[in-house]
Subunit: 205 residues, 3 copies
Protein backbone atom coordinates (compact mmCIF):
# COMPACT_ATOMS: atom_id res chain seq x y z
CA UNK A 1 0.00 0.00 0.00
CA UNK A 2 1.35 3.44 -0.87
CA UNK A 3 2.20 5.73 2.07
CA UNK A 4 -0.76 7.99 1.34
CA UNK A 5 -3.23 5.10 1.16
CA UNK A 6 -1.80 3.63 4.37
CA UNK A 7 -2.26 7.04 5.99
CA UNK A 8 -5.87 7.08 4.82
CA UNK A 9 -6.40 3.65 6.39
CA UNK A 10 -4.99 4.98 9.66
CA UNK A 11 -7.28 8.01 9.38
CA UNK A 12 -10.28 5.73 8.87
CA UNK A 13 -9.36 3.66 11.92
CA UNK A 14 -8.89 6.75 14.09
CA UNK A 15 -12.09 8.53 13.07
CA UNK A 16 -14.19 5.38 13.42
CA UNK A 17 -12.74 4.77 16.89
CA UNK A 18 -13.40 8.41 17.80
CA UNK A 19 -16.92 8.17 16.42
CA UNK A 20 -17.73 4.91 18.19
CA UNK A 21 -16.38 6.25 21.45
CA UNK A 22 -18.29 9.53 21.11
CA UNK A 23 -21.44 7.50 20.57
CA UNK A 24 -20.59 5.70 23.81
CA UNK A 25 -20.06 8.99 25.60
CA UNK A 26 -23.49 10.19 24.52
CA UNK A 27 -24.93 7.06 26.10
CA UNK A 28 -23.51 8.45 29.37
CA UNK A 29 -23.32 5.06 31.00
CA UNK A 30 -19.74 4.00 30.30
CA UNK A 31 -16.49 4.58 32.17
CA UNK A 32 -13.22 5.51 30.47
CA UNK A 33 -12.32 1.91 29.67
CA UNK A 34 -15.75 1.16 28.30
CA UNK A 35 -15.46 4.20 26.03
CA UNK A 36 -12.01 3.15 24.77
CA UNK A 37 -13.15 -0.45 24.32
CA UNK A 38 -16.14 0.57 22.24
CA UNK A 39 -13.89 2.88 20.22
CA UNK A 40 -11.50 0.02 19.50
CA UNK A 41 -14.29 -2.33 18.45
CA UNK A 42 -15.65 0.35 16.11
CA UNK A 43 -12.28 1.28 14.64
CA UNK A 44 -10.94 -2.26 14.22
CA UNK A 45 -14.08 -4.33 13.67
CA UNK A 46 -14.61 -3.64 9.99
CA UNK A 47 -11.01 -4.35 9.00
CA UNK A 48 -10.99 -7.57 11.02
CA UNK A 49 -14.11 -8.87 9.22
CA UNK A 50 -12.51 -7.81 5.91
CA UNK A 51 -9.40 -9.87 6.58
CA UNK A 52 -11.51 -12.91 7.54
CA UNK A 53 -13.44 -12.66 4.25
CA UNK A 54 -10.25 -12.14 2.23
CA UNK A 55 -8.39 -14.93 4.09
CA UNK A 56 -5.74 -12.36 5.05
CA UNK A 57 -5.35 -13.65 8.61
CA UNK A 58 -3.98 -12.72 11.05
CA UNK A 59 -5.77 -9.40 10.48
CA UNK A 60 -3.72 -6.28 9.76
CA UNK A 61 -5.75 -4.53 12.46
CA UNK A 62 -4.30 -6.99 14.99
CA UNK A 63 -0.73 -7.52 13.72
CA UNK A 64 0.16 -3.85 13.16
CA UNK A 65 0.35 -2.07 16.52
CA UNK A 66 -0.30 1.30 14.84
CA UNK A 67 -3.93 0.35 14.18
CA UNK A 68 -4.30 -0.70 17.82
CA UNK A 69 -2.71 2.54 19.06
CA UNK A 70 -4.80 4.76 16.77
CA UNK A 71 -8.03 3.04 17.78
CA UNK A 72 -7.18 3.32 21.48
CA UNK A 73 -6.14 6.95 20.97
CA UNK A 74 -9.40 7.78 19.22
CA UNK A 75 -11.31 6.28 22.12
CA UNK A 76 -9.29 8.19 24.70
CA UNK A 77 -9.73 11.48 22.83
CA UNK A 78 -13.48 10.92 22.82
CA UNK A 79 -13.43 10.48 26.58
CA UNK A 80 -11.46 13.71 27.03
CA UNK A 81 -13.88 15.56 24.73
CA UNK A 82 -16.90 14.38 26.63
CA UNK A 83 -17.42 17.72 28.43
CA UNK A 84 -18.25 19.34 25.12
CA UNK A 85 -20.83 16.74 24.37
CA UNK A 86 -23.58 19.07 23.24
CA UNK A 87 -21.50 20.24 20.31
CA UNK A 88 -20.67 16.77 19.07
CA UNK A 89 -23.70 15.72 17.05
CA UNK A 90 -22.38 17.08 13.76
CA UNK A 91 -18.79 15.84 14.17
CA UNK A 92 -20.12 12.34 14.94
CA UNK A 93 -21.94 12.22 11.62
CA UNK A 94 -19.03 13.68 9.65
CA UNK A 95 -16.44 11.39 11.24
CA UNK A 96 -18.62 8.41 10.51
CA UNK A 97 -18.93 9.47 6.85
CA UNK A 98 -15.15 9.89 6.57
CA UNK A 99 -14.50 6.43 7.99
CA UNK A 100 -17.22 4.94 5.80
CA UNK A 101 -15.70 6.45 2.64
CA UNK A 102 -12.09 5.60 3.40
CA UNK A 103 -12.79 2.00 4.42
CA UNK A 104 -15.07 1.32 1.45
CA UNK A 105 -12.41 2.40 -1.03
CA UNK A 106 -9.30 0.99 0.64
CA UNK A 107 -10.88 -2.40 1.33
CA UNK A 108 -12.00 -2.68 -2.28
CA UNK A 109 -8.40 -1.92 -3.29
CA UNK A 110 -7.08 -4.57 -0.92
CA UNK A 111 -9.40 -7.19 -2.39
CA UNK A 112 -8.40 -6.27 -5.96
CA UNK A 113 -4.71 -6.28 -5.01
CA UNK A 114 -5.18 -9.81 -3.67
CA UNK A 115 -6.74 -10.94 -6.96
CA UNK A 116 -10.42 -11.01 -6.02
CA UNK A 117 -13.03 -9.95 -8.60
CA UNK A 118 -14.92 -6.68 -8.81
CA UNK A 119 -18.07 -8.08 -7.16
CA UNK A 120 -16.04 -9.30 -4.20
CA UNK A 121 -14.20 -5.97 -3.99
CA UNK A 122 -17.50 -4.07 -3.83
CA UNK A 123 -18.95 -6.43 -1.24
CA UNK A 124 -15.89 -6.40 1.00
CA UNK A 125 -15.61 -2.62 0.67
CA UNK A 126 -19.19 -2.24 1.82
CA UNK A 127 -18.93 -4.79 4.61
CA UNK A 128 -15.75 -3.20 5.96
CA UNK A 129 -17.26 0.26 5.80
CA UNK A 130 -20.46 -0.64 7.66
CA UNK A 131 -18.88 -3.33 9.88
CA UNK A 132 -17.40 -1.19 12.63
CA UNK A 133 -20.55 0.86 13.12
CA UNK A 134 -22.69 -2.27 13.08
CA UNK A 135 -20.62 -3.88 15.83
CA UNK A 136 -20.82 -0.59 17.79
CA UNK A 137 -24.61 -0.50 17.49
CA UNK A 138 -25.11 -4.18 18.36
CA UNK A 139 -22.94 -3.77 21.47
CA UNK A 140 -24.91 -0.81 22.77
CA UNK A 141 -28.26 -2.40 21.92
CA UNK A 142 -29.30 -0.20 19.00
CA UNK A 143 -30.72 -1.35 15.68
CA UNK A 144 -27.64 -0.91 13.44
CA UNK A 145 -27.50 2.21 11.26
CA UNK A 146 -27.06 -0.01 8.22
CA UNK A 147 -30.58 -1.37 8.77
CA UNK A 148 -32.27 1.89 9.75
CA UNK A 149 -33.26 4.77 7.54
CA UNK A 150 -30.84 7.09 5.72
CA UNK A 151 -28.51 6.00 2.96
CA UNK A 152 -25.60 4.18 4.61
CA UNK A 153 -24.63 0.94 2.84
CA UNK A 154 -25.40 2.40 -0.60
CA UNK A 155 -22.83 5.23 -0.52
CA UNK A 156 -20.25 2.66 0.57
CA UNK A 157 -21.28 0.33 -2.24
CA UNK A 158 -21.07 3.17 -4.78
CA UNK A 159 -17.70 4.33 -3.45
CA UNK A 160 -16.32 0.78 -3.59
CA UNK A 161 -17.79 0.46 -7.09
CA UNK A 162 -16.07 3.66 -8.28
CA UNK A 163 -12.79 2.46 -6.80
CA UNK A 164 -13.17 -0.96 -8.46
CA UNK A 165 -14.01 0.61 -11.83
CA UNK A 166 -11.03 2.96 -11.63
CA UNK A 167 -8.76 0.11 -10.54
CA UNK A 168 -9.94 -2.09 -13.41
CA UNK A 169 -9.27 0.79 -15.82
CA UNK A 170 -5.69 0.93 -14.58
CA UNK A 171 -6.00 3.78 -12.07
CA UNK A 172 -4.63 2.24 -8.85
CA UNK A 173 -3.33 5.42 -7.37
CA UNK A 174 -4.14 7.97 -4.76
CA UNK A 175 -6.22 10.28 -6.96
CA UNK A 176 -8.64 7.51 -7.91
CA UNK A 177 -8.90 6.47 -4.27
CA UNK A 178 -9.55 9.98 -3.02
CA UNK A 179 -12.08 10.62 -5.79
CA UNK A 180 -13.99 7.43 -5.03
CA UNK A 181 -13.97 8.20 -1.32
CA UNK A 182 -15.25 11.70 -2.06
CA UNK A 183 -18.18 10.27 -4.05
CA UNK A 184 -19.14 8.06 -1.09
CA UNK A 185 -18.69 10.92 1.39
CA UNK A 186 -20.82 13.39 -0.56
CA UNK A 187 -23.67 10.92 -1.10
CA UNK A 188 -23.68 10.01 2.59
CA UNK A 189 -23.63 13.62 3.80
CA UNK A 190 -26.26 14.73 1.29
CA UNK A 191 -28.40 11.79 2.39
CA UNK A 192 -28.13 12.77 6.06
CA UNK A 193 -28.60 16.49 5.41
CA UNK A 194 -31.74 16.15 3.34
CA UNK A 195 -33.01 13.15 5.29
CA UNK A 196 -33.17 11.18 2.07
CA UNK A 197 -34.55 7.76 2.65
CA UNK A 198 -34.99 4.83 0.35
CA UNK A 199 -38.51 3.48 -0.25
CA UNK A 200 -39.96 1.91 2.84
CA UNK A 201 -42.34 -0.90 3.56
CA UNK A 202 -46.03 -0.26 4.12
CA UNK A 203 -45.82 0.27 7.85
CA UNK A 204 -44.23 3.68 7.42
CA UNK A 205 -46.70 5.25 5.02
CA UNK B 1 -20.55 -30.89 -4.39
CA UNK B 2 -23.05 -32.59 -6.69
CA UNK B 3 -25.32 -30.29 -8.74
CA UNK B 4 -28.36 -31.24 -6.67
CA UNK B 5 -26.60 -30.59 -3.35
CA UNK B 6 -25.27 -27.28 -4.66
CA UNK B 7 -28.81 -26.38 -5.69
CA UNK B 8 -30.00 -27.22 -2.18
CA UNK B 9 -27.33 -24.93 -0.75
CA UNK B 10 -28.58 -22.15 -3.03
CA UNK B 11 -32.14 -22.86 -1.92
CA UNK B 12 -31.09 -22.62 1.72
CA UNK B 13 -29.36 -19.29 1.11
CA UNK B 14 -32.36 -17.88 -0.74
CA UNK B 15 -35.01 -18.97 1.77
CA UNK B 16 -32.95 -17.78 4.74
CA UNK B 17 -32.45 -14.39 3.07
CA UNK B 18 -36.17 -14.23 2.26
CA UNK B 19 -37.02 -15.23 5.82
CA UNK B 20 -34.63 -12.74 7.42
CA UNK B 21 -35.90 -9.95 5.20
CA UNK B 22 -39.55 -10.83 5.88
CA UNK B 23 -38.77 -10.64 9.58
CA UNK B 24 -37.35 -7.18 8.92
CA UNK B 25 -40.46 -6.18 7.00
CA UNK B 26 -42.64 -7.20 9.93
CA UNK B 27 -40.57 -4.87 12.10
CA UNK B 28 -41.85 -2.09 9.82
CA UNK B 29 -38.96 0.20 10.53
CA UNK B 30 -36.56 -0.59 7.68
CA UNK B 31 -36.20 0.81 4.19
CA UNK B 32 -35.56 -1.31 1.10
CA UNK B 33 -31.79 -1.41 1.63
CA UNK B 34 -32.14 -2.29 5.29
CA UNK B 35 -34.44 -5.15 4.33
CA UNK B 36 -32.00 -6.46 1.70
CA UNK B 37 -29.06 -6.05 4.07
CA UNK B 38 -30.75 -8.03 6.82
CA UNK B 39 -31.69 -10.67 4.25
CA UNK B 40 -28.07 -10.97 3.14
CA UNK B 41 -26.78 -11.24 6.69
CA UNK B 42 -29.35 -13.97 7.41
CA UNK B 43 -28.70 -15.89 4.20
CA UNK B 44 -24.91 -15.68 4.24
CA UNK B 45 -24.08 -15.49 7.96
CA UNK B 46 -24.29 -19.18 8.80
CA UNK B 47 -22.16 -20.30 5.86
CA UNK B 48 -19.54 -17.67 6.64
CA UNK B 49 -19.21 -18.87 10.24
CA UNK B 50 -19.04 -22.45 8.92
CA UNK B 51 -16.12 -21.63 6.66
CA UNK B 52 -14.28 -19.88 9.51
CA UNK B 53 -14.67 -22.96 11.73
CA UNK B 54 -13.63 -25.33 8.92
CA UNK B 55 -10.71 -23.07 7.86
CA UNK B 56 -12.23 -22.92 4.38
CA UNK B 57 -11.51 -19.20 3.90
CA UNK B 58 -12.24 -17.13 1.92
CA UNK B 59 -15.85 -18.24 2.53
CA UNK B 60 -17.82 -19.78 -0.33
CA UNK B 61 -20.62 -17.34 0.51
CA UNK B 62 -18.28 -14.49 -0.39
CA UNK B 63 -16.27 -15.92 -3.30
CA UNK B 64 -19.19 -17.32 -5.30
CA UNK B 65 -21.32 -14.44 -6.62
CA UNK B 66 -24.34 -16.74 -6.93
CA UNK B 67 -24.71 -16.86 -3.13
CA UNK B 68 -24.49 -13.07 -3.00
CA UNK B 69 -27.06 -12.69 -5.78
CA UNK B 70 -29.48 -15.20 -4.26
CA UNK B 71 -29.27 -13.59 -0.84
CA UNK B 72 -29.83 -10.11 -2.30
CA UNK B 73 -32.67 -11.47 -4.45
CA UNK B 74 -34.34 -13.08 -1.44
CA UNK B 75 -34.17 -9.76 0.39
CA UNK B 76 -35.60 -7.84 -2.56
CA UNK B 77 -38.45 -10.32 -2.99
CA UNK B 78 -39.32 -9.89 0.67
CA UNK B 79 -39.53 -6.14 0.19
CA UNK B 80 -41.81 -6.55 -2.82
CA UNK B 81 -44.03 -8.96 -0.86
CA UNK B 82 -44.37 -6.59 2.05
CA UNK B 83 -47.89 -5.48 1.12
CA UNK B 84 -49.17 -8.97 1.84
CA UNK B 85 -47.63 -8.93 5.25
CA UNK B 86 -50.57 -10.28 7.19
CA UNK B 87 -50.37 -13.57 5.30
CA UNK B 88 -46.69 -14.12 5.95
CA UNK B 89 -46.52 -15.61 9.45
CA UNK B 90 -46.74 -19.22 8.26
CA UNK B 91 -44.34 -18.85 5.30
CA UNK B 92 -41.76 -17.25 7.60
CA UNK B 93 -41.77 -20.31 9.86
CA UNK B 94 -41.72 -22.78 6.96
CA UNK B 95 -38.91 -20.97 5.11
CA UNK B 96 -36.88 -20.87 8.28
CA UNK B 97 -37.36 -24.61 8.77
CA UNK B 98 -36.30 -25.32 5.17
CA UNK B 99 -33.12 -23.26 5.55
CA UNK B 100 -32.41 -24.85 8.93
CA UNK B 101 -32.71 -28.37 7.48
CA UNK B 102 -30.72 -27.76 4.31
CA UNK B 103 -27.85 -25.95 6.03
CA UNK B 104 -27.58 -28.50 8.86
CA UNK B 105 -27.18 -31.38 6.42
CA UNK B 106 -25.01 -29.71 3.76
CA UNK B 107 -22.63 -28.19 6.29
CA UNK B 108 -22.18 -31.56 7.99
CA UNK B 109 -21.37 -33.01 4.55
CA UNK B 110 -18.86 -30.26 3.86
CA UNK B 111 -17.08 -30.94 7.16
CA UNK B 112 -16.96 -34.69 6.48
CA UNK B 113 -15.74 -34.10 2.91
CA UNK B 114 -12.91 -31.99 4.34
CA UNK B 115 -11.91 -34.82 6.70
CA UNK B 116 -13.37 -33.57 9.99
CA UNK B 117 -14.86 -36.08 12.44
CA UNK B 118 -18.52 -36.82 13.10
CA UNK B 119 -18.69 -34.66 16.24
CA UNK B 120 -17.30 -31.68 14.31
CA UNK B 121 -19.70 -32.34 11.43
CA UNK B 122 -22.68 -32.30 13.79
CA UNK B 123 -21.50 -29.15 15.55
CA UNK B 124 -20.75 -27.25 12.36
CA UNK B 125 -24.05 -28.38 10.83
CA UNK B 126 -25.93 -27.06 13.85
CA UNK B 127 -23.95 -23.80 14.05
CA UNK B 128 -24.44 -23.09 10.34
CA UNK B 129 -28.15 -23.86 10.57
CA UNK B 130 -28.82 -21.59 13.54
CA UNK B 131 -26.14 -18.98 12.66
CA UNK B 132 -28.01 -16.89 10.10
CA UNK B 133 -31.13 -16.59 12.23
CA UNK B 134 -29.07 -15.78 15.30
CA UNK B 135 -27.29 -12.92 13.50
CA UNK B 136 -30.69 -11.69 12.26
CA UNK B 137 -32.13 -11.69 15.78
CA UNK B 138 -29.11 -10.01 17.37
CA UNK B 139 -29.18 -7.26 14.72
CA UNK B 140 -32.84 -6.46 15.32
CA UNK B 141 -32.48 -6.66 19.10
CA UNK B 142 -34.39 -9.87 19.77
CA UNK B 143 -33.32 -12.74 22.02
CA UNK B 144 -32.21 -15.27 19.36
CA UNK B 145 -34.64 -18.07 18.50
CA UNK B 146 -31.94 -20.59 19.35
CA UNK B 147 -32.10 -19.47 22.98
CA UNK B 148 -35.85 -19.04 23.27
CA UNK B 149 -38.48 -21.74 23.54
CA UNK B 150 -39.40 -24.19 20.80
CA UNK B 151 -37.09 -26.85 19.44
CA UNK B 152 -34.62 -25.12 17.12
CA UNK B 153 -31.01 -26.26 17.62
CA UNK B 154 -32.06 -29.84 18.39
CA UNK B 155 -33.72 -30.58 15.01
CA UNK B 156 -30.59 -29.20 13.33
CA UNK B 157 -28.37 -31.37 15.53
CA UNK B 158 -30.47 -34.45 14.76
CA UNK B 159 -30.50 -33.69 11.02
CA UNK B 160 -26.73 -33.18 11.00
CA UNK B 161 -26.40 -36.40 13.02
CA UNK B 162 -28.49 -38.40 10.52
CA UNK B 163 -26.42 -36.98 7.66
CA UNK B 164 -23.18 -37.84 9.45
CA UNK B 165 -24.34 -41.37 10.22
CA UNK B 166 -25.42 -41.93 6.62
CA UNK B 167 -22.16 -40.48 5.32
CA UNK B 168 -20.11 -42.70 7.64
CA UNK B 169 -22.10 -45.71 6.41
CA UNK B 170 -21.12 -44.85 2.84
CA UNK B 171 -24.25 -42.99 1.74
CA UNK B 172 -22.87 -39.66 0.51
CA UNK B 173 -25.56 -38.97 -2.04
CA UNK B 174 -28.62 -36.90 -2.56
CA UNK B 175 -31.12 -39.36 -1.10
CA UNK B 176 -29.34 -39.48 2.25
CA UNK B 177 -29.07 -35.69 2.29
CA UNK B 178 -32.73 -35.15 1.47
CA UNK B 179 -33.79 -37.78 4.01
CA UNK B 180 -31.71 -36.20 6.77
CA UNK B 181 -33.02 -32.75 5.91
CA UNK B 182 -36.57 -34.11 5.98
CA UNK B 183 -36.01 -35.47 9.50
CA UNK B 184 -34.85 -32.06 10.68
CA UNK B 185 -37.70 -30.27 8.90
CA UNK B 186 -40.43 -32.54 10.32
CA UNK B 187 -39.13 -32.29 13.89
CA UNK B 188 -38.91 -28.51 13.65
CA UNK B 189 -42.40 -28.09 12.16
CA UNK B 190 -43.98 -30.54 14.62
CA UNK B 191 -42.26 -28.65 17.43
CA UNK B 192 -43.67 -25.32 16.27
CA UNK B 193 -47.14 -26.70 15.52
CA UNK B 194 -47.65 -28.37 18.88
CA UNK B 195 -45.72 -25.75 20.80
CA UNK B 196 -43.43 -28.45 22.13
CA UNK B 197 -40.88 -27.04 24.49
CA UNK B 198 -38.00 -28.61 26.27
CA UNK B 199 -37.98 -28.62 30.09
CA UNK B 200 -37.60 -25.14 31.51
CA UNK B 201 -36.02 -23.66 34.59
CA UNK B 202 -38.05 -22.98 37.70
CA UNK B 203 -39.13 -19.49 36.77
CA UNK B 204 -41.61 -20.77 34.20
CA UNK B 205 -43.56 -23.26 36.30
CA UNK C 1 0.80 -26.89 25.97
CA UNK C 2 1.82 -28.56 29.24
CA UNK C 3 -0.78 -30.84 30.87
CA UNK C 4 -1.39 -28.36 33.67
CA UNK C 5 -1.89 -25.43 31.31
CA UNK C 6 -4.20 -27.54 29.14
CA UNK C 7 -6.15 -28.42 32.28
CA UNK C 8 -6.42 -24.72 33.10
CA UNK C 9 -7.77 -24.04 29.61
CA UNK C 10 -10.38 -26.76 30.17
CA UNK C 11 -11.24 -25.21 33.53
CA UNK C 12 -11.69 -21.80 31.90
CA UNK C 13 -13.98 -23.26 29.26
CA UNK C 14 -16.07 -25.10 31.84
CA UNK C 15 -16.46 -22.20 34.27
CA UNK C 16 -17.30 -19.73 31.49
CA UNK C 17 -19.91 -22.12 30.12
CA UNK C 18 -21.31 -22.62 33.64
CA UNK C 19 -21.31 -18.86 34.19
CA UNK C 20 -22.98 -18.04 30.88
CA UNK C 21 -25.62 -20.69 31.45
CA UNK C 22 -26.28 -19.53 35.03
CA UNK C 23 -26.78 -16.03 33.64
CA UNK C 24 -29.30 -17.53 31.25
CA UNK C 25 -31.04 -19.35 34.08
CA UNK C 26 -31.42 -16.09 36.00
CA UNK C 27 -33.16 -14.66 32.94
CA UNK C 28 -35.76 -17.37 33.54
CA UNK C 29 -36.91 -17.40 29.98
CA UNK C 30 -34.85 -20.17 28.44
CA UNK C 31 -35.42 -23.91 28.16
CA UNK C 32 -32.71 -26.52 28.78
CA UNK C 33 -31.32 -26.32 25.26
CA UNK C 34 -31.25 -22.54 25.31
CA UNK C 35 -29.32 -22.68 28.58
CA UNK C 36 -26.79 -25.17 27.18
CA UNK C 37 -26.47 -23.20 23.94
CA UNK C 38 -25.74 -19.96 25.75
CA UNK C 39 -23.25 -21.81 27.95
CA UNK C 40 -21.45 -23.15 24.88
CA UNK C 41 -21.31 -19.73 23.21
CA UNK C 42 -19.88 -18.24 26.41
CA UNK C 43 -17.36 -21.03 26.98
CA UNK C 44 -16.17 -21.36 23.39
CA UNK C 45 -16.66 -17.85 21.97
CA UNK C 46 -13.49 -16.23 23.31
CA UNK C 47 -11.19 -19.04 22.18
CA UNK C 48 -12.76 -19.06 18.73
CA UNK C 49 -12.14 -15.33 18.26
CA UNK C 50 -8.57 -15.86 19.55
CA UNK C 51 -7.87 -18.50 16.93
CA UNK C 52 -9.27 -16.25 14.18
CA UNK C 53 -6.97 -13.41 15.24
CA UNK C 54 -3.96 -15.73 15.53
CA UNK C 55 -4.75 -17.48 12.23
CA UNK C 56 -4.87 -20.77 14.14
CA UNK C 57 -7.91 -22.08 12.26
CA UNK C 58 -9.75 -24.37 12.54
CA UNK C 59 -10.19 -23.25 16.17
CA UNK C 60 -9.03 -25.55 18.97
CA UNK C 61 -12.43 -25.00 20.61
CA UNK C 62 -14.02 -26.68 17.58
CA UNK C 63 -11.48 -29.38 16.66
CA UNK C 64 -10.94 -30.78 20.17
CA UNK C 65 -14.14 -32.50 21.34
CA UNK C 66 -13.12 -32.05 24.99
CA UNK C 67 -13.79 -28.31 24.77
CA UNK C 68 -17.18 -29.00 23.24
CA UNK C 69 -18.02 -31.57 25.94
CA UNK C 70 -16.87 -29.34 28.80
CA UNK C 71 -18.84 -26.37 27.53
CA UNK C 72 -21.98 -28.48 27.07
CA UNK C 73 -21.43 -30.04 30.51
CA UNK C 74 -21.09 -26.63 32.13
CA UNK C 75 -24.35 -25.56 30.54
CA UNK C 76 -26.15 -28.72 31.66
CA UNK C 77 -24.85 -28.37 35.22
CA UNK C 78 -26.18 -24.81 35.30
CA UNK C 79 -29.61 -26.06 34.29
CA UNK C 80 -29.58 -28.70 37.02
CA UNK C 81 -28.51 -26.10 39.59
CA UNK C 82 -31.28 -23.73 38.65
CA UNK C 83 -33.45 -24.59 41.68
CA UNK C 84 -30.83 -23.03 43.95
CA UNK C 85 -30.86 -19.85 41.97
CA UNK C 86 -31.04 -17.44 44.87
CA UNK C 87 -27.63 -18.60 46.12
CA UNK C 88 -25.89 -18.19 42.78
CA UNK C 89 -25.06 -14.47 42.57
CA UNK C 90 -21.64 -14.86 44.20
CA UNK C 91 -20.60 -18.02 42.31
CA UNK C 92 -21.51 -16.32 39.01
CA UNK C 93 -19.09 -13.48 39.72
CA UNK C 94 -16.32 -15.78 40.98
CA UNK C 95 -16.63 -18.21 38.06
CA UNK C 96 -16.50 -15.32 35.63
CA UNK C 97 -13.33 -14.00 37.29
CA UNK C 98 -11.71 -17.45 37.12
CA UNK C 99 -12.48 -17.79 33.40
CA UNK C 100 -11.33 -14.23 32.76
CA UNK C 101 -7.98 -14.85 34.47
CA UNK C 102 -7.27 -18.23 32.93
CA UNK C 103 -8.16 -17.19 29.38
CA UNK C 104 -6.19 -13.91 29.57
CA UNK C 105 -3.01 -15.72 30.56
CA UNK C 106 -3.29 -18.83 28.40
CA UNK C 107 -4.22 -16.91 25.26
CA UNK C 108 -1.26 -14.58 25.75
CA UNK C 109 0.94 -17.68 26.04
CA UNK C 110 -0.53 -19.15 22.87
CA UNK C 111 0.19 -15.94 20.94
CA UNK C 112 3.77 -15.83 22.24
CA UNK C 113 4.27 -19.53 21.47
CA UNK C 114 3.17 -18.82 17.90
CA UNK C 115 5.74 -16.02 17.57
CA UNK C 116 3.50 -12.95 17.96
CA UNK C 117 4.82 -9.92 19.83
CA UNK C 118 4.05 -8.79 23.38
CA UNK C 119 1.47 -6.19 22.28
CA UNK C 120 -0.40 -8.81 20.27
CA UNK C 121 -0.20 -11.27 23.18
CA UNK C 122 -1.74 -8.73 25.55
CA UNK C 123 -4.49 -7.79 23.08
CA UNK C 124 -5.40 -11.36 22.25
CA UNK C 125 -5.33 -12.32 25.93
CA UNK C 126 -7.75 -9.52 26.74
CA UNK C 127 -10.01 -10.18 23.76
CA UNK C 128 -10.22 -13.90 24.56
CA UNK C 129 -10.94 -13.18 28.21
CA UNK C 130 -13.75 -10.71 27.58
CA UNK C 131 -15.00 -12.35 24.35
CA UNK C 132 -17.17 -15.12 25.75
CA UNK C 133 -18.96 -12.85 28.21
CA UNK C 134 -19.46 -10.21 25.52
CA UNK C 135 -21.11 -12.72 23.17
CA UNK C 136 -23.28 -13.90 26.10
CA UNK C 137 -24.40 -10.34 26.88
CA UNK C 138 -25.09 -9.42 23.24
CA UNK C 139 -27.18 -12.56 22.78
CA UNK C 140 -29.36 -11.84 25.80
CA UNK C 141 -29.69 -8.16 24.94
CA UNK C 142 -27.55 -6.65 27.70
CA UNK C 143 -24.91 -3.95 27.34
CA UNK C 144 -21.75 -6.09 27.62
CA UNK C 145 -19.95 -6.15 30.97
CA UNK C 146 -16.79 -5.01 29.20
CA UNK C 147 -18.48 -1.68 28.38
CA UNK C 148 -20.31 -1.18 31.67
CA UNK C 149 -18.87 -0.13 35.00
CA UNK C 150 -16.50 -2.20 37.13
CA UNK C 151 -13.00 -3.16 36.11
CA UNK C 152 -13.28 -5.98 33.60
CA UNK C 153 -10.99 -5.57 30.59
CA UNK C 154 -8.23 -3.99 32.66
CA UNK C 155 -7.59 -6.97 34.99
CA UNK C 156 -7.42 -9.17 31.88
CA UNK C 157 -4.99 -6.75 30.22
CA UNK C 158 -2.81 -6.66 33.35
CA UNK C 159 -2.90 -10.46 33.70
CA UNK C 160 -1.95 -10.92 30.05
CA UNK C 161 0.77 -8.30 30.53
CA UNK C 162 2.23 -10.14 33.54
CA UNK C 163 2.19 -13.39 31.59
CA UNK C 164 3.87 -11.74 28.60
CA UNK C 165 6.53 -10.13 30.78
CA UNK C 166 7.26 -13.43 32.54
CA UNK C 167 7.35 -15.27 29.24
CA UNK C 168 9.74 -12.73 27.73
CA UNK C 169 11.95 -13.10 30.81
CA UNK C 170 12.16 -16.84 30.18
CA UNK C 171 9.47 -18.04 32.59
CA UNK C 172 7.14 -20.08 30.34
CA UNK C 173 5.96 -22.49 32.98
CA UNK C 174 3.02 -23.17 35.20
CA UNK C 175 4.07 -21.00 38.13
CA UNK C 176 4.29 -17.86 36.01
CA UNK C 177 0.93 -18.67 34.44
CA UNK C 178 -0.77 -19.27 37.78
CA UNK C 179 0.80 -16.15 39.26
CA UNK C 180 -0.33 -13.96 36.35
CA UNK C 181 -3.83 -15.43 36.51
CA UNK C 182 -3.91 -14.76 40.26
CA UNK C 183 -3.05 -11.09 39.67
CA UNK C 184 -5.94 -10.77 37.22
CA UNK C 185 -8.32 -12.65 39.52
CA UNK C 186 -7.51 -10.55 42.61
CA UNK C 187 -7.86 -7.22 40.76
CA UNK C 188 -11.20 -8.29 39.30
CA UNK C 189 -12.61 -9.54 42.61
CA UNK C 190 -11.36 -6.48 44.54
CA UNK C 191 -12.94 -4.29 41.85
CA UNK C 192 -16.30 -6.01 42.19
CA UNK C 193 -16.18 -6.14 46.00
CA UNK C 194 -15.40 -2.47 46.51
CA UNK C 195 -17.43 -1.35 43.52
CA UNK C 196 -14.34 0.32 42.10
CA UNK C 197 -15.08 2.11 38.90
CA UNK C 198 -12.85 3.91 36.49
CA UNK C 199 -13.47 7.64 35.85
CA UNK C 200 -16.73 8.26 34.07
CA UNK C 201 -18.02 10.79 31.64
CA UNK C 202 -19.94 13.83 32.80
CA UNK C 203 -23.35 12.20 32.78
CA UNK C 204 -22.62 10.21 35.90
CA UNK C 205 -21.35 12.96 38.18
Amino acid sequence: MSPLLLTLDFVGTFVFALNGALTAVRLERLDVFGVITLGMFTGLGGGTIRDVLLDALPPATFVDWRYLALAAGGGLLAFLLSRRLDRLAVPIVVLDAVGLSVFAVLSAYKALDMGFGVVQAMIVGTVTAVGGGTIRDVMIGRIPTVLRSELYAIPALIGAGCASAAYSAGYHGTVAALGSAAVCFVIRIVGVYFGLDAPRTRGHH
